[in-house]
Amino acid sequence: MKWPTIIVAFFAVSLMSSAVLAQETWRPQQRAAQAQPQAATERSEAEVIVLHALNDGKGIDPKIGKMPQLKQPPFSAYSSYRLLHRGRVNLVKGKDATLVLPNKGKVVLQLKSVSKTKKGKRFVLATRIDKANGSKFFRGEFKAKPRNIFFVAGERHGKGILVVGIRVTTQ
């Protein structure tokens, strides 16, 4: 075997060894990066408010607090909003968190993942609303910034509709 051949073979073996070593060096960093969001999800929860929208001209219930969205379309289709329920559910990744609605329907939330973007954390939340008879009313998946509310509205309740507001919070 000639010298150039030996040198090339030695170079190749060295390169492979370096690549394997480099992988091993980065692996703990990868594990740490993956573990960080998991730790964040353990302390997540969702605030759920349930409003009853009616057209009885009574205005917005003061218990609801500051919520300027209710004066704008499409909410402005109803003249009054009454707070029916305000509660919190713990969010554990991959597990359902259920809240029973005043009409015996259910709101089921499941935290799918938490991602960290340049603009901060994003919580991917699967949301399911079932009617009292168990039939499906709504299925959706949202990617939410913490402390920002979103609404699912429209389910008939009495002479009006239910408006469900969901806000992810972290402790």
């Binding site: 690549a19 992988q23 980065w26 379309p73 402005s76 990617k143 920002n148 609404f151």
Partner: protein, 230 residues
């Protein structure tokens, strides 16, 4: 050419084209009974029929010889290739100078001369392959940029979902058309990844939240089933 029983009448059994099939079947040994007797009688009486049978035999033997010659050609080719390989190994083992090139066997000489470099080529090929694998492991297997799908995942959702059109339509129906720049200032704080209204209809609205530049996501479902029940 045939009567009601399907046989060829004797008066029509001349040496015309229709009898060729009968003669071919006779030559192949496929005839029986009346057809066999008819064909045999035809061959005995008609010189043309006898000639045709003879020509069929000649063509058959010619074809068989062609097939045999083809098979022999393969055997010869195999023998030649074996001899070429044997000659190449003899040259290596003896350490003798290779034969001068001839037009008849150019590959023998090339094979004998290049065989000494085969090991080097193989080593270079293996080394190149190893280097490629190493680079592949380095860049795709262990790169930190590919290790953080949670931390660095690209935003899979469009910044302006299609449902924003609904918001725009709703806005325009509720009040005067806002300036284009005013709509684009709002960014939804909650993005809709997917919605399933089932058999119902629904819309996604982005309502100004009161905070500058931020819009609240509102999914509005038309609960028509309940309306019908009421």
């Amino acid at each position: 050419m045939t009567d009601e029983t399907g046989t060829i009448p004797a008066d029509a059994a001349g040496t015309d084209f229709g009898d060729d099939g009968l003669l071919m079947r006779l030559y192949d040994g496929e005839l029986e009974g009346d057809e066999l007797a008819l064909a045999q009688g035809l061959v005995e009486d008609d010189q043309n029929a006898q000639d045709k049978i003879a020509s069929m035999a000649m063509v058959g033997s010619f074809l068989r010889e062609c097939v045999d010659a083809d098979e022999r050609g393969d055997v010869i080719a195999d023998a030649v290739m074996a001899r070429i390989e044997a000659g190449a190994h003899e040259n290596i083992d003896d350490g003798a100078e290779p034969d001068p090139p001839t037009e008849a066997m150019p590959n023998v000489r090339l094979g004998a001369k290049s065989s000494a470099n085969d090991n080097a080529r193989a080593i270079f090929a293996v080394a190149g392959l190893a280097a490629a694998v190493a680079f592949g492991m380095f860049f795709w297997g262990g790169s930190p940029t590919s290790s953080g799908p949670v931390a660095e995942a690209p935003d899979p959702l469009p910044t302006q979902p299609a449902a924003e059109v609904a918001f725009r339509d709703q806005w325009s129906s509720a009040s005067a058309e806002p300036p284009q720049s005013e709509i684009e200032e709002y960014e939804p704080t909650v993005e809709v990844a997917s919605v399933d209204f089932g058999s119902k209809s629904g819309s996604v609205f982005y309502v100004p939240s009161g905070e500058p530049g931020e819009a609240t996501t509102v999914v509005w479902v038309s609960d028509l089933e309940e309306e019908e029940e009421l």
